[in-house]
């Protein structure tokens, strides 16, 4: 007998990870082919949270589409709203007054902090660090309270409207944001004390999921995922919208393109967002928040009650919504998870002809199979965590 025949036959095992699993961040299903703990092949299977938002938009007025966009990346509702309203405003050719734009920037940056805090908590928890979750959620809860002051809810804002905002900021809001802005940098130190120099944390994240800058571009990564690899691309700075050019902030970059660098990038982004919010508060102008055009934004209530033309405008906006000219538009913003783009085609009616949403999580998740190959099962969990995917954002 030769040696080959006495060797035990081994075969790979297929493990179905998810869609019900503690760390797939929702309903991601990954079909794994495993050789022991080694991943031979990882195949993400998506679509469990597909709600057909793009198709649903085609049967609704532009205003009715807005609540749907809340639910794309439900951890950063305001960012989605911002992308959509900016796209529609571009189509209409209107620009929101300065105060409205500044408030939008402030809310968008607070949303970024809240989204990154959620990522920090869950990413840490996936790697077995339970305590940062509670630290991060403490601050996130404070942000949720702030958001509740503004739009009455926590996750689904719908506060940005086409042509402006639903309402001005409530009384006492800026004082509370000031309080948050002043204390938040100290809290980031708390998280960093637990993780940044922790030997186990470094061992678990360094060298895991390495992407070179070229690969980042090939796979269409954006946001912190791309910046972790040193791709210097931030739409807030490189293609400013909503007056981001008025603010001074640094775009943090990583160098190794691994999970640890992406962690550092996101931590620094929270600090920078905090800086932007501080600048908004310092320079918040007074004045209107909505476009004066009554075909775009609701006229002030005062006038609706006393003036028949304003009342008619009010009715028309509620009934028909805005009616943009025939055309196409693409507007991308820097959402917490990367480039969030809205492509809207209009045929000149009150409903969009086609809405295509370029969701960051979808592009980022695509590389999971490539990164997980040849790694251990535990690394896959780290990779899902670092991608900061929201399945609602992937499936839409």
């Amino acid at each position: 007998m030769n040696g080959a025949q006495t060797m035990p036959q081994t075969e790979t095992m297929v493990l179905n990870l998810g869609p019900q699993h503690p760390s797939t961040h929702g309903v991601l299903r990954v079909v794994l082919e495993l050789d022991g703990e080694l991943i031979v092949k990882a195949d993400p299977d998506i679509g469990y949270l597909h709600r057909g938002i793009e198709k649903m938009c085609e049967f609704r007025t532009y205003h009715q589409c807005l609540p749907l966009t809340d639910r794309i990346d439900y951890l950063a509702g305001s960012a989605n709203n911002l992308g959509f309203v900016l796209a529609v405003e571009k189509l209409l050719g209107v620009e929101v007054p300065k105060r409205g734009q500044y408030i939008r920037v402030m809310i968008a940056e607070l949303t970024r902090i809240s989204s990154h805090l959620f990522w920090l908590g869950t990413h840490g928890h996936d790697l077995g660090a339970m305590t940062p979750l509670f630290y991060a959620f403490r601050e996130r809860e404070k942000l949720m309270d702030l958001f509740e002051m503004v739009w009455g809810g926590r996750l689904f804002p719908c506060y940005f409207r086409i042509g402006g905002l639903a309402a001005d900021l409530p009384e006492g809001f800026t004082d509370q944001v000031w309080e948050f802005v002043e204390t938040f940098p100290k809290k980031i130190e708390d998280y960093e004390n637990l993780l940044t120099h922790n030997r186990i944390w470094i061992a678990r994240t360094k060298g895991v999921g390495v992407m070179s800058p070229d690969e980042v571009l090939d796979w269409g990564w954006s946001g912190p995922m791309a910046r972790g690899s040193g791709v210097d691309w931030d739409l807030r700075r490189d293609n400013p919208y909503s007056r981001y050019e008025d603010f001074d902030f640094v775009v943090p970059l990583g160098s190794n393109g691994d999970t640890y660098d992406r962690y550092l990038v996101r931590m620094e982004e929270m600090r920078q967002s905090n800086r932007i919010v501080r600048q908004v508060l310092e320079n918040l102008p007074s004045g209107d928040i909505n476009v004066a055009d009554p075909r775009v934004a609701l006229p002030p209530k005062e006038r609706v009650y006393n003036n028949i033309e304003a009342l008619i405008n009010h009715f028309l906006i509620i009934e028909e919504g805005v009616i943009p000219p025939v055309g196409e538009v693409y507007q991308a913003i820097e959402a917490p998870k990367g480039e969030l783009g809205f492509y809207i085609a209009s045929d000149g009616t009150g409903h969009p002809l086609r809405v295509k949403i370029r969701a960051p999580s979808f592009a980022n998740l695509a590389a999971l199979g490539k990164l997980a190959k040849g790694r251990l099962l535990s690394d896959l969990i780290a990779l899902i965590g670092t991608m900061d995917i929201v399945l609602a954002d992937v499936d839409r």
Partner: protein, 310 residues
């Protein structure tokens, strides 16, 4: 003997109930929250309520399991734990059987838990359970070696396997002062032996759902849980005997001192869990074979040399 058995079972149950409550409280305060507050004073009776709930749960046996092995596993994990209490010296008089191979008996029986974990993981017919079992076995074998070697360096100094002799040898100075490295190694290995974070990969819930006991429900799961916390008590008790002078102390009665030391070590182990992330499987094994085992051997050799010289 019957009295002793009842005593041990009572101690095991009360200890587990207390430890689960303590863990929840420690975790809560580290994480800036109050923890259980509703049932009893500061939630003191919460675990009693949980235990009652667990006993009332239906025992679900999945269809495709290997029945005899599946049913035996929770019992096998629990029985050796009872034996361990036979030799633990709570005070000079409070010891059930002062065997002359006490420490060996503890190590021998505590390594039996691996068998049960293998049985549970394999018989569950669940891929996550198998992973949990494989990891647990690799880990326990890797960490038992440095654990024994570190204990060996103490035994060399005392010249006896008897636990009361080891305590008696520490009348002048606790061994933690003479053997700080051994103490450190022991605590690390003990944490790994009991599958506690940061070495809790056999039940890493973010990877393996619940590891080897995924398919167990009700009191069967409860027995695994009970065994985990009792094991924690045992390794801490052994650490107290080996390094912290056992029941020795001032003013307070010896048994109180013994328990204070044991729960202090348990608190330390809990503190680890709520502070550190989890190691990866390969890092865990590398750490054992490349760091802990060589260090333990060096410690043993230096100890042997020192005993020979002085």
């Amino acid at each position: 003997m019957i009295v002793a058995l009842i005593g041990v079972i009572a101690l095991v149950s009360v200890n587990a109930l207390f430890l689960i409550w303590m863990e929840r409280k420690v975790a809560a305060h580290i994480q800036l929250r109050p923890g259980p507050m509703e049932v009893g004073y500061h939630g003191a009776l919460q675990t009693v309520a949980d235990a009652l709930k667990l006993m009332g749960k239906e025992l679900i046996t999945p269809d495709e399991v290997d029945r005899p092995v599946y049913l035996l596993a929770p019992i096998i994990i629990f029985l050796p734990v009872l034996v361990l209490f036979l030799v633990i010296p709570f005070s000079p008089n409070l010891i059930i059987r002062d065997l002359n191979v006490g420490i060996l008996l503890i190590f021998a029986f505590s390594s039996l838990t691996v068998l049960s974990i293998l049985m549970a993981g394999w018989s569950s017919n669940n891929k996550y359970s198998v992973f949990g079992a494989i990891r647990s076995i690799a880990q326990n074998i890797a960490y038992e070696i440095p654990l024994l070697i570190t204990a060996m360096s103490i035994i060399l100094m005392v010249g006896s396997f008897k636990l009361t002799d080891i305590v008696a040898a520490q009348d002048k100075v606790w061994f933690v002062v003479i053997q700080p490295l051994a103490f450190l190694l022991y605590i690390i290995c003990a944490t790994a032996e009991t599958n506690r974070a940061p070495f809790d990969i056999p039940e890493a819930e973010s990877e393996l759902v619940a590891g080897f006991h995924t398919e167990y429900s009700g009191m069967r799961f409860g027995l695994f849980f009970l065994a985990e916390y009792t094991n924690m008590f045992v390794v801490s008790a052994v650490a107290t005997v080996l390094f912290l002078g056992g029941w020795r102390g001032w003013i307070l009665p010896p048994v109180v001192w013994f328990l204070i030391k044991v729960y202090a070590i348990i608190f330390l182990i809990m503190w680890f869990r709520w502070t550190f992330p989890r190691l990866r499987f390969d890092q865990l094994i590398t750490f054992a074979w490349k760091v802990l085992i060589p260090l333990a051997f060096v410690n043993l050799l230096v100890t042997a040399l020192a005993i020979k010289l002085f």
